[in-house]
Symmetry: C2
Subunit: 400 residues, 2 copies
């Protein structure tokens, strides 16, 4: 018998309770052990819920109950969640979370603590919602030296961009629609400014390359500057605009560059066809070549599916991260995206040609502006030099 | 120290040797154990190879060496490979394989034997080449009740269909090109007649639904009947023709229907955009919704990547299949595809309308024929009744 406590009865927490309740027999058979939901911590009561009897308001009840083996942290943020996670691990309980902010900022410390206590800190649900990605990277792809991870990591922004591309909505219209459909929050900043994608690429980069990469090391640009003109110019070049998180390992010295920014993605790339709230993560390794993982990157039940998968691993003590967590970070781990060359898309004031660039056309283009596809492999300084003296409206990389 | 023996120094076997050799240090660090290649069994000598010193010709050398912990079987087929696999497991060695024929036909028996001997029989590489799929299904998605698996499981046929769709080649021309490029064998029957995809959907269905499904329970149709007219008719309906393996679990009684056949796939489906030699496998679960795994489904190094990932698992005794293998099969496990309803594509002689169907158009259509999209959800007997008296050239399901 493994007793589980859920911290936070919000969207994901209630989804976890639901999945354990609905598929409990099947789950217990799979792990050859009874998995029972003992506590749900929340400040609120839920008298109407079938889980009303499990609700507690005091974390120390869970902390001090030696029969609780696995704590599910779905509080979010890096304050209370950090405190409770530390205390749960200190008390010898495995912790499973969907909290990307906490893992991206304190992952190394918490995994160290888990290792000292010989328990697990698992977070498959923190990236890509229910899409299996972290465990496959660390196990199925473990024979590979990985060189790059590129992903559509945020469903809200991908929904907005899809509606701009498919329905010709403006950014503001598409955002309002996303909010009306529950795909964007009332305060959408964390999504549309790229911070959510940033946390996820930090976790992916840390796991794939073995050292903690922190959000403050990851230049992050969101999608608020993208206009319908950009969407049309991209289309005329056979491409789609996507917000990508990327992490690239440089073979020469093993350093990593991670960043989040809009990119033009050629239509024939599998990433170009990832639409709506779906996420997709492409991983490149020396033996495997290119593999991609695709699915719903958020949502109550998909995310709960990944959390409960980790709970089952923790219950079986098949903890893939126990001996595989990443090491501490530091400034020496990363290199700058200023050193990463690519082709570029530039929308600039004026009509004068840009050297070595192909002019793009769009019905929605503003008069007095022009857009260019600058081919070849240029570093940011080189492309800026090529555009010197021009007012640059938008400058995005082209995925090569 | 874990000693490994490879049986069969062909494409995959030599790839496994190469990956262990190239990434050996990284691999040993990951499993906290030295992984060493001790033997390679082949009937040939390879005096020029860097592995010449490891070549042996007598299986009993491996069988009787107690220091060999993991045997990699890359012989293929279900005769010698079956004998050696049984003997290796009997000798207390874990076995890792890429041999889909053996797993599809004898998987249950071999897993039982492995369980009795407390070793592992692992076969991630048998489906989707290097794409992580079996382990994610059994671990990351383990909290789900799965309901359906649908995949493009054979790169050769997908390459041929892609060239027909993209370049307008006939089936015969595309097959010759695939052979010239090394994507199809000189005797392409196993691929183009669907047998390779059949073995893979058997393995996926067995793993996902928990009972052995054997190739003789899986109706299998290949791509040899597909013409350029079919490709164009599909295009006019906004679809692409793909060879799919499918396995569907019926909720009412838990029975499974698995089959392999060409399908029309709507362009907006992620499966429609899987091109060339790539494979993709879509899995549907009650919590996760739809997830898809994409990558190179064959090839020396991608397949070797999956084999070595399993070797690492066996070396760590993190054997996901130990307690999770499937149970014996039987006629009571399956239901017939005659009971599966769908929309249909029909190409028939004559121009007379088909009831409840939309006529399709194609420049390549033969005079005196017509093609129809029969919408709704019809069982095969119902669609055949609707086409009674007509000469049916091709009849394919539409993926719903």
């Amino acid at each position: 018998m493994v007793n589980v406590a859920i911290l936070g009865f919000g969207t994901v927490g209630s989804g976890v309770a639901e999945v354990i309740h609905k598929n409990g027999q099947h789950i217990s058979e799979r792990v050859s052990n009874q998995i029972a939901l003992k506590y749900i911590l929340d400040i609120r009561d839920f008298p109407e819920s079938i889980f009303a009897g499990q609700i507690v308001h005091d974390f120390s009840v869970i902390e001090q109950d030696p029969t609780v083996g696995v704590v599910v942290e779905t509080i979010g943020g890096a304050t209370i969640a950090l405190d409770y996670t530390r205390r749960a691990l200190m008390a010898g309980k495995s912790v499973v979370t969907s909290n990307k902010e906490l893992v991206a900022t304190h992952g190394y410390e918490l995994m160290q603590l888990a290792r000292e206590k010989n328990v697990s800190y698992l977070f498959e649900a923190s990236v890509g919602g229910g899409i299996p990605i972290l465990k496959p990277i660390r196990t199925c792809l473990a024979a590979n030296e990985l060189s790059e991870i590129t992903g559509i990591l945020n469903g809200t922004t991908n929904y907005i961009l899809t509606r701009m591309i498919r329905a010709g909505l403006s950014f503001e219209e598409a955002l309002r629609e996303a909010q009306a459909n529950g795909y964007a929050e009332r305060n959408p900043a964390a999504d549309i400014e790229g911070h959510d994608a940033c946390r996820k690429i930090c976790i992916l980069a840390s796991l794939a390359f073995g050292r903690q990469i922190s959000p403050d090391q990851v230049p992050t640009e969101g999608i608020t500057s993208i206009t319908l003109a950009d969407v049309e110019y991209a289309k005329s070049a056979g491409m789609k605009i996507k917000l990508l998180g990327r992490a690239i390992r440089r073979e020469a010295d093993g350093k990593v560059c991670a960043y989040v920014a809009p990119h033009l993605v050629p239509d024939e790339s599998p990433l170009a066809n990832v639409e709506g709230v779906f996420n997709a993560i492409s991983v490149v390794g020396d033996a495997i070549g290119d593999v991609m993982f695709y699915g719903q990157g958020a949502g109550k039940l998909p995310t709960a599916s990944a959390v409960v998968g980790d709970v089952m691993d923790a219950a079986k003590h098949m903890c893939y991260l126990k001996s595989n967590c990443w090491e501490a970070g530091g400034p020496e781990v990363v290199f700058s995206q200023e050193e990463v060359a690519s082709a570029w898309y530039a929308r600039v004031a004026g009509e004068e040609p840009v050297e070595g660039a192909r002019k793009l056309s769009a019905a929605q283009g503003e008069p007095g502006e022009s857009a260019w596809l600058i081919e070849g492999a240029l570093r940011p300084a080189e492309v800026r030099a090529r555009l010197a003296g021009r007012e640059v409206k938008n400058l995005y990389r082209v995925l090569g």
